[in-house]
């Protein structure tokens, strides 16, 4: 086999076949193995269905790569509706010239992430484009899952009194990726937090069905997610700055770049608004779960200042936590 992906690998001919055949052992399952035009399977109950496209620079970063991201991201989007993720589609757009070894590495990550999340890749597609028409590799995944009876999770459901729970340190993913970016390389001991959260959500739901909102604060960070809750539920949110966990190294990187950890992307975090009487039980269940050990209550939903997130600062003042605008750019001065 060639050591670089060629345009011919996307032509639909023999090379395409070879490439697809080389994927199969990693992802094998009875539905995928048929290689029919569409995956056919039985499913019953309320369905959750989502899709997301993944581009990340660099493709490989401490704690993960675009493959792990593509599986975890879609699994997490399903989990945030309270769904049990079942099946994923997987599509690549590859820039010609990508080393085949890199594609193999990405596939291995996909295999591991899918295994951990307990989902099957049941259909897929590969396209190869001219150099410059894509940046190394883009991945799209779509996923379906089933939502258990009695679960009703939506960003519109927050109510005054709800506790806001976060499952651990914020900003790890964004800083891990930035630290590897061309022109900005710096050393940080923090790997990306990229992880499938469906197990954590299942544990939370087992503790209580009174989870009103769930969202994974990816791009735009925790600030964006909480503003979504406040805006869509027409409630206010009050945060306690000293309760929000941030790794020291992430805080340090944010300081010299001029960033606020509240706006940095996460790939293994969730924020929840839960009924106050069940908050302790949910928090305890989270702390027992693999990706919830660092769970903490960071604030609460209030009737005042609807649509706005306000934070009590460490020194005892308060300030607005706004939606971010555009791309985060490092400080100049």
């Amino acid at each position: 086999m060639e050591d670089k992906i060629l345009l011919a690998h996307g032509s639909g001919g023999k090379l395409s076949q070879d490439l697809i055949q080389s994927f199969l052992p990693d992802l094998a399952n009875p539905i995928l193995d048929k290689l029919d035009d569409s995956a056919v399977f039985d499913i019953s109950g309320r369905l959750a269905f989502t899709t997301d496209s993944y581009t990340v620079n660099p493709v490989f970063f401490p704690g993960g790569d675009i493959g792990k991201l593509a599986v975890c991201g879609t699994v997490n989007d399903l989990a945030m509706s309270g769904a049990r993720p079942l099946y994923l589609s997987l599509a690549f757009i590859i820039e010609e010239g990508l080393p085949v070894a890199n594609l193999k590495k990405i596939l291995t990550s996909i295999k591991h992430a899918a295994e951990e999340a307990g989902v099957k890749i049941v259909t897929g597609d590969t396209k190869v484009v001219n150099q410059g028409s894509a940046d190394k590799i883009f991945v799209n995944t779509a996923g379906v899952g089933t939502v258990p009876e009695g679960v009703d999770i939506s960003a519109t459901n927050a109510r005054p009194g709800d506790k806001i729970i976060l499952n651990g340190n914020i900003g790890d993913h964004g800083i891990a990726v930035l630290s590897q970016r061309e022109g900005l390389k710096f050393h940080t001991p923090v790997p990306s937090d990229c992880a499938p959260l469906n197990g954590l959500v299942a544990d939370m739901l087992a503790a209580s069905a009174n989870i009103h909102c769930l969202r994974d604060p990816t791009r735009g960070g925790l600030a964006t997610t909480l503003n979504d809750f406040a805006g869509q539920s027409k409630v206010g949110i009050r945060l306690e700055e000293d309760k929000i966990p941030v790794d020291k190294a992430v805080l340090a990187a944010c300081e010299f770049l001029g960033f606020d950890p509240l706006y940095i992307a996460n790939e293994g975090k969730l924020a929840a608004a839960v009924a106050p009487r069940d908050a302790a039980a949910i928090l305890a269940a989270m702390k027992r779960s693999k990706y919830g050990v660092g769970a903490v209550i960071i604030g609460e939903v209030v009737a005042e200042h609807p649509g706005q997130v306000v934070m009590n600062t460490i020194l005892g003042a308060s300030r607005i936590v706004d939606m971010p605008v555009g791309e985060l750019l490092p400080r100049i001065c």
Partner: protein, 364 residues
């Protein structure tokens, strides 16, 4: 890494605040020079915690904000030349000039690239020998030495396709200009932090000596700023203005001499055009004749067209400390971070963006 949480310690913060509240009696208007200071003050809600007799004003220390429309028009005109790649710090590309912005010029086909440092621009120059690479050199004494270094390195490597549009500005002269305008009656100045890492604290001595205004150099953590306010209050209450460093881990009185020498090798003092303030003599850095082959202004013919200032925008008087963003009719309505009219709403360290994002005791 250390040096963040230590400077946010709530107990120490409360002690400093107690001391400030106990000592401060006279009404005092303090200006924080840097946009970075303004951000820190709002982010930590410090204004709400200070005594009522202390009024904080934001100053002109935001490199993006003080870039004049005419200079932006030059940058945009340079970008429209064939075979030119414009390299710029990020915030700059969004600032509206008279008719366009670098961001819009990019969408219309100009090759505009965001870089994190002048070193990245040099890399682009090495990789694109058939193009002219122009770095938009903005910033104060903080960034100027790194850009001077890039010019020296380009010379050493005999790179003949690297140019700098030097819009650099220096801080002490603009402080003097603002004081001479007599529009703001200041009791104290929180002097620049990162700028002072380079130039030291001596250049502010004239403010204490001639204008009898208290000075304290501050860092950007909440305790840094509270300590600086504490020092200013002490000077004001005792009637003995001087220049203190409340940022000793970063700033020495004599500054960073190698960085100063680097700046002086490549640049000479010249006039600079400050948005809202106008042309101020001896407040900018121009590329010396010896290095003029790297000077974008000397090597390209451009017609940036007549300068137009955005109607209703009061960025200028905000930068002089005369007005606050809340005084602007456009603030939060016509002018938002998504749709900025003036530069103070664009830059992450601009006063308007800071008021908008963090709000103050009046909310947004």
């Amino acid at each position: 890494m250390k040096f963040v949480n230590e400077y946010r310690d709530p107990e120490l913060g409360k002690k400093l605040l107690d001391r400030i509240h106990k000592r401060s009696r006279k009404p005092a208007r303090l200006m924080e020079f840097c946009g970075g200071h303004t951000v820190a003050i709002f982010k930590h809600g410090l204004r709400q915690l200070l005594p009522e007799n202390i009024e904080m004003l934001s100053g002109p220390g935001c490199p993006v904000c003080v870039t004049a429309s005419a200079d932006l028009d030059r940058a945009i005109a340079l970008g429209s030349l064939p075979d030119v790649i414009i390299t710029s710090f990020g915030d700059m590309v969004r600032v509206p000039g008279s008719r366009s912005s670098l961001q819009k010029a990019k969408a219309e086909g100009a090759d505009v690239r965001i870089v994190y440092s002048a070193q990245d621009a040099l890399t682009i120059a090495r990789d694109n020998q058939d193009k002219s690479i122009i770095f938009i050199g903005i910033g104060f004494e903080t960034t100027a030495p790194t850009i001077a270094a890039s010019i020296l390195q380009a010379e050493q490597e005999k790179l003949n396709n690297y140019y700098v549009l030097s819009l650099h500005k220096v801080c002490p002269p603009i402080m003097k200009a603002i004081l001479d305008m007599g529009e703001v009656n200041l009791g104290g100045i929180i002097c620049p932090g990162h700028v002072s890492v380079i130039i030291g604290s001596h250049p502010y001595q004239f403010i204490a000596d001639e204008y009898k205004i208290a000075c304290a150099v501050s860092g950007f953590e909440p305790l840094d700023i509270l300590l600086a306010v504490d020092r200013l209050v002490e000077q004001i209450e005792s009637g003995q203005p001087k220049v203190e460093i409340a940022y000793r881990r970063g700033v020495k009185p004599e500054g960073n001499q190698p960085a100063i020498r680097l700046m002086e090798t490549v640049f000479e003092i010249g006039e600079a055009n400050w948005r809202g303030i106008g042309v101020v003599p001896a407040s900018g850095l121009q590329i010396k004749a010896k290095y003029e082959r790297f000077d974008a202004l000397k090597n390209f013919n451009i017609d940036p067209g007549p300068t137009l200032e955005p109607k209703g925008c009061i960025c200028g008087s905000i930068l002089r400390g005369v007005s606050t963003p809340r005084d602007c009719r456009l603030f939060g309505g016509t002018c938002t971070p998504e749709n900025p009219v003036g530069p103070c709403m664009v830059s992450s360290e601009g006063s308007c963006a800071t008021y908008y994002h963090y709000g103050d005791s009046h909310g947004r």
